[in-house]
C-alpha cells in the first residue's frame, strides 16, 4: 500500500441539478438569453485547471471599504454601516487562499452609480458601489460597506429586488469562475423576487442568505453579516487511469 498522498485530479463536475437552469421564464430576460442546446460535457483540462494570479499587492488600502473608497476626504457614504465577512471554501471544505473577490451594490436608496440606471432614488456623492479584496491564508475576507436598499426593476409590473450585494469570485482554475449574489437575513423581498426564484430549493436560497453576526458586530459602529462562498473543488485520487474522454 502506497503512503504517498492522493494526487489532485481535475475539477469535480458542476452539479447542474443544484445550479439554476438557463431558461427561467419568470425572469424574463433569461428567455432570449438562454442556450437551448445541451451543454457539451467534458473533463476539465489545463485550460480550465489554471487561472491568472492576482497578488495581494494589487489591492489598495481602501479597496475593501465602500464607505470611504469613493468618498471625499473626511466624508463617508450614507446608510447603515455594515461589515460583510466570511470565507471562500472549495467543495472539499478547504479554505481557498488568494481568491480575488470583486463586489458591487446599489446605494442605501437602491440606486446604482451607472449611466444606464434611471431609478429616481438619488445618487450618494460619496458612494461608488464597488470594492475588491483577496482572501487570506484560510480563505477569509471582510469588507466594510453600507446596507444596500431594495429597488424596483422592469420585469413584472411590480417586481422589487431584495437588498443584495453581487460577488465575482476568481479561484485558481478558470473552471471555478463564479458570479453570485448575497441576500440579507429576514428580507421579505427574498420570497417575492423572480431572480431569487430561479434557485430550485430553499437550501439554495439559504446558501445565499447572510445571517446577522452579532459576534463580529463592532459596538456603536457597524453591524456584521457572515457570508461564506463555495467554489468548485478538485478530485483527490490515488488512481488516475484516464481513458479517452474520461
Amino acid at each position: 500500500m502506497s503512503t504517498t498522498p492522493p494526487k489532485t485530479g481535475g475539477f469535480i463536475p458542476r452539479d447542474r441539478v443544484w445550479q439554476p437552469d438557463a431558461l427561467t421564464p419568470p425572469y424574463k430576460t433569461s428567455i432570449k438569453r438562454s442556450p437551448q442546446a445541451a451543454l457539451l460535457s467534458f473533463p476539465s483540462t489545463l485550460s480550465e485547471e489554471t487561472s491568472p494570479v492576482f497578488g495581494h499587492n494589487l489591492i489598495g488600502k481602501l479597496d475593501n471599504d465602500l464607505i470611504h473608497n469613493y468618498a471625499k476626504d473626511g466624508e463617508s457614504a450614507i446608510g447603515p454601516r455594515i461589515i460583510v465577512h466570511g470565507r471562500v471554501l472549495d467543495e472539499n471544505g478547504r479554505g481557498v487562499a488568494g481568491a480575488l473577490l470583486e463586489f458591487w451594490q446599489a446605494n442605501a436608496g437602491g440606486r446604482y452609480r451607472h449611466k444606464k440606471e434611471s431609478y429616481l432614488a438619488p445618487l450618494d456623492p460619496n458612494f461608488g458601489g464597488c470594492g475588491r479584496t483577496i482572501t487570506g491564508e484560510d480563505g477569509s475576507y471582510e469588507f466594510a460597506t453600507i446596507m444596500p436598499g431594495p429597488y424596483p426593476w422592469p420585469n413584472g409590473m411590480n417586481d422589487w429586488r431584495p437588498a443584495h450585494i453581487h460577488f465575482s469570485i476568481f479561484g485558481h482554475g478558470f473552471a471555478q469562475r463564479l458570479i453570485t449574489q448575497m441576500y440579507f437575513e429576514g428580507d421579505p423581498h427574498i420570497k417575492l423576487c423572480p431572480i431569487v426564484g430561479i434557485l430550485k430549493t430553499q437550501e439554495a436560497i439559504d446558501a445565499l442568505t447572510a445571517p446577522l453576526d452579532m459576534n463580529r458586530t463592532v459596538p456603536m459602529d457597524s453591524r456584521a453579516f457572515k457570508f461564506d462562498m463555495v467554489i468548485r473543488g478538485r478530485r483527490q485520487t490515488y488512481f488516475e487511469n484516464r481513458k479517452e474522454g474520461l
Binding site: P20, S47, G60, N92, W104, H114, E117, H172
Partner: protein
C-alpha cells in the same frame, strides 16, 4: 443511516445583472477606481509569438447584440504555457498575462481582445488539443456563466485531430467555435446565445 458525506455544495450562481461593469470594470462605467480596470491589457511588454486581434459580439435569440455582457478569456502563451501558479511544465512568457476581460463597446457591444495566437496544450490523456482560448460570458439574463472555446478556422489540421472537436456529435455546429480571419487580419468570433447558430457552450 449511512455515514454523512462532508462535501460542500458550490454556491448557487446568480446573474451578473445589468451593472456587472460597476464591479468588474468600474473605470469603463466612469468610476475612477483602482488606477484602472483589470484585464484590459494582456501584454505587459514585448511578447513572443504572433500577435492577433479577436473581435466579436454576443447576440441574443432575436439577433440583438448584448450591450451589458462581460466576456473573459484565458489562454496559454505562444508556446502553450499558462501564466498561472499551477503551470508546472515550464516558464511562460513573462510579458503575457493570458487573461483578458472586456465589457464590450458601450454602444455596439462589440468586444476586442489584443492577444497572441495560443500554443497547443495537451488533453488529460496526453494527446494535443488544437490551439484554443477559453471564453466565459456573463450578463443580465444569464443565470450561470457560460463557458465556451475559441478555436481557429485556419488551424484545420490541428482542429481535425482535436480530442474535443472530433467527439462533438453535431459536427455541423463546430463552425460556431471557430474564429474566422477577416480581410483586415483580425479574427471574428461572434457568440450566439440561442437560435440556429447557437454557439456550443461547455460543461467542463
Amino acid at each position: 443511516m449511512v455515514q454523512k458525506m462532508d462535501y460542500l455544495r458550490e454556491s448557487p450562481s446568480q446573474t451578473a445583472g445589468p451593472y456587472v461593469h460597476i464591479g468588474c470594470t468600474p473605470n469603463f462605467t466612469g468610476l475612477n477606481m483602482y488606477g484602472g480596470d483589470l484585464g484590459t491589457s494582456m501584454k505587459t511588454g514585448p511578447v513572443q509569438g504572433t500577435e492577433i486581434t479577436i473581435k466579436g459580439t454576443v447576440f441574443d435569440g432575436t439577433g440583438t447584440p448584448l450591450r451589458d455582457a462581460m466576456i473573459e478569456i484565458w489562454q496559454p502563451d505562444a508556446a502553450g504555457l499558462f501564466p498561472s501558479a499551477n503551470e508546472t511544465r515550464g516558464t511562460p512568457d513573462p510579458n503575457f498575462t493570458g487573461w483578458g476581460r472586456s465589457a464590450g463597446d458601450m454602444d455596439t457591444g462589440e468586444f476586442t481582445f489584443e492577444t497572441v495566437k495560443p500554443g497547443a496544450v495537451p488533453f488529460p490523456d496526453g494527446r494535443m488539443q488544437a490551439p484554443h482560448i477559453t471564453a466565459w460570458i456573463v450578463a443580465r439574463g444569464i443565470n450561470i456563466g457560460l463557458h465556451s472555446r475559441i478555436y481557429f478556422a485556419d488551424e484545420e489540421q490541428a482542429n481535425a485531430a482535436d480530442p474535443i472537436l472530433t467527439r462533438i456529435e453535431h459536427q455541423n455546429r463546430i463552425p460556431t467555435l471557430l474564429a474566422q480571419k477577416q480581410a483586415d487580419g483580425t479574427y471574428r468570433f461572434d457568440i450566439h446565445l440561442q437560435g440556429p447558430n447557437e454557439t456550443i457552450f461547455f460543461d467542463i
